[in-house]
């Protein structure tokens, strides 16, 4: 089946693929930054113990987790204009991606915070540290270590999810292969090549996560 595989076309379009790879990388990077910001805020609201803060955070997290990203994407893409908000496709896409991953990040952070023994927080209270100080000096430094591997896992999901942005005509890796397919009608060359690029990103992130996990075990031992 590889006999019909046209490597020349892939080579001709390599510039387009690399542009797509670059676009996927920066879209994911901005999306990740957004997701972390949203996730930290939502997590802090959720564990604050104050109903008026935790209730909206829980609603946000559960709503995001029970609906597909594609539906969220269409919701904002078709919905924001009727509210009079004009975003470009890129802005809508990155906005939806950040909100989506933010909910998962919030849950990962919460698990990390809850993994810290209650006695430490009590010790902090006994020292007279306030909530923010306890968070800054006791909880976060310890929680971040254990949350890095699941966060990298979520980053992998985010990179893959960014492929959906091609459906609202954002140019990125998957879009590049759709362009090749429509111009030359060579779906095999297009889609298999981007699959390889995605695998590359996946292995980079996965080995980063593995490296961190080994470091974590060494530190604890």
């Amino acid at each position: 089946m590889l006999s019909t595989f046209n490597f020349r076309v892939i080579w001709d379009y390599m510039g387009l693929f690399l542009q797509g790879l670059w676009a996927t990388a920066w879209i994911s990077a901005i999306g990740l930054t957004g997701a972390l910001s949203v996730g930290i805020i939502a997590c802090m609201m959720r564990i604050s113990g104050k109903k008026f803060l935790s209730a909206p955070a829980i609603a946000y997290i559960e709503l995001i987790r029970s609906t597909p990203l594609l539906v969220q994407l269409y919701f904002f893409y078709f919905g924001l204009p009727s509210l009079g908000i004009r975003f470009t496709e890129y802005q809508t896409g990155i906005f939806a991606l950040s909100l989506n991953s933010g909910a998962y990040m919030a849950e990962i952070l919460r698990a990390g915070v809850q993994s810290i023994p209650g006695g430490q927080v009590e010790a902090g209270i006994a020292f007279g540290l306030n909530y923010l100080q306890r968070l800054r000096y006791i909880i976060l430094p310890q929680a971040i270590g254990v949350t890095i591997p699941p966060m990298l896992g979520q980053t992998i999901v985010l990179v893959k999810d960014s492929a959906l942005l091609s459906l609202i005509s954002v140019f990125e890796l998957t879009r590049a292969s759709q362009i090749l397919t429509s111009e030359r009608f060579m779906p095999a060359e297009g889609f298999l090549t981007v699959a390889v690029f995605y695998l590359l990103l996946y292995y980079i992130l996965k080995s980063l996560s593995g490296w961190w996990q080994r470091r974590l075990i060494h530190r604890q031992a």
Binding site: T4, P68, F78, T174, A188, F191
Partner: protein
């Protein structure tokens, strides 16, 4: 204007229910098949015949390392070039099953590896063969660790099934996409689509949480 669109949307409720049924069919069938596949390859991978094991690692990595959107394009557009022409429905089932199988394989293999080595040794000493050991000793214990992430994975897969709308299957997402061309109120239309997904996924999330609490209470 809003109320006009609202009544129009209310008129297209049957269309949405049809889409809901399609989502049910696609995710139901591929979850059942994916679970069977996932358990088979998961048990095989934990079993440890070396070449098979590496092959399964590659399978899982390829499925988990590429977006499902790209996978469904590959199945739908490339397989025909190689002489395997699949209609949209079987293509969706096929790709979603393979995709689900990889994630479930990982969960099952992880659950089996979490069972204490001594259990297998004790079963061997009792004279149980490989099948009996897996069936009566290892799996019943592994199931406790497998269940919570398995149900959580089902939620992710049902949500990913929304992507089959891109190859023209009229599931809920595609119904929303078609409706929004007529009723240009994205918030309303995709709000309704979201509610339908929520009503399927949220109970499953609660179920997964319940399994997890039960597991922790048992001291697993």
């Amino acid at each position: 204007m809003w109320s006009f669109y609202f009544s129009q949307l209310a008129d297209s409720i049957p269309f949405f229910l049809k889409g809901l049924w399609m989502t049910f069919k696609i995710s139901g069938i591929s979850l059942v098949l994916g679970t069977i596949l996932g358990f088979c390859v998961g048990i095989a991978r934990a079993g440890g015949i070396k070449p098979l094991r590496y092959l399964l690692y590659i399978y899982v990595d390829v499925m988990r390392g590429t977006p499902y959107l790209v996978q469904i394009f590959i199945v739908f557009f490339i397989l025909p070039e190689w002489g395997i022409q699949l209609a949209a429905f079987p293509a969706a089932i096929f790709s979603l099953t393979l995709y689900a199988g990889a994630y479930i394989c990982e969960i099952v293999a992880g659950g089996i590896e979490a069972v204490d080595e001594g259990q297998t040794e004790a079963a061997m000493a009792t004279g149980l063969n490989r099948f009996q050991r897996t069936r009566y000793v290892v799996m019943p214990q592994a199931m406790r660790t497998i269940l919570p992430p398995l149900v959580g994975q089902y939620v992710l897969l049902i949500k990913d099934s929304s992507i089959v709308s891109v190859i023209g299957l009229t599931d809920i997402t595609r119904v929303g996409w078609l409706t929004v061309q007529r009723i240009p109120e994205g918030i309303m239309v995709f709000g309704l689509v979201g509610i339908l997904y929520f009503s399927i996924c949220y109970p499953l999330i609660l179920l997964s949480n319940w399994f997890e609490r039960r597991l922790r209470a048992q001291g697993g």
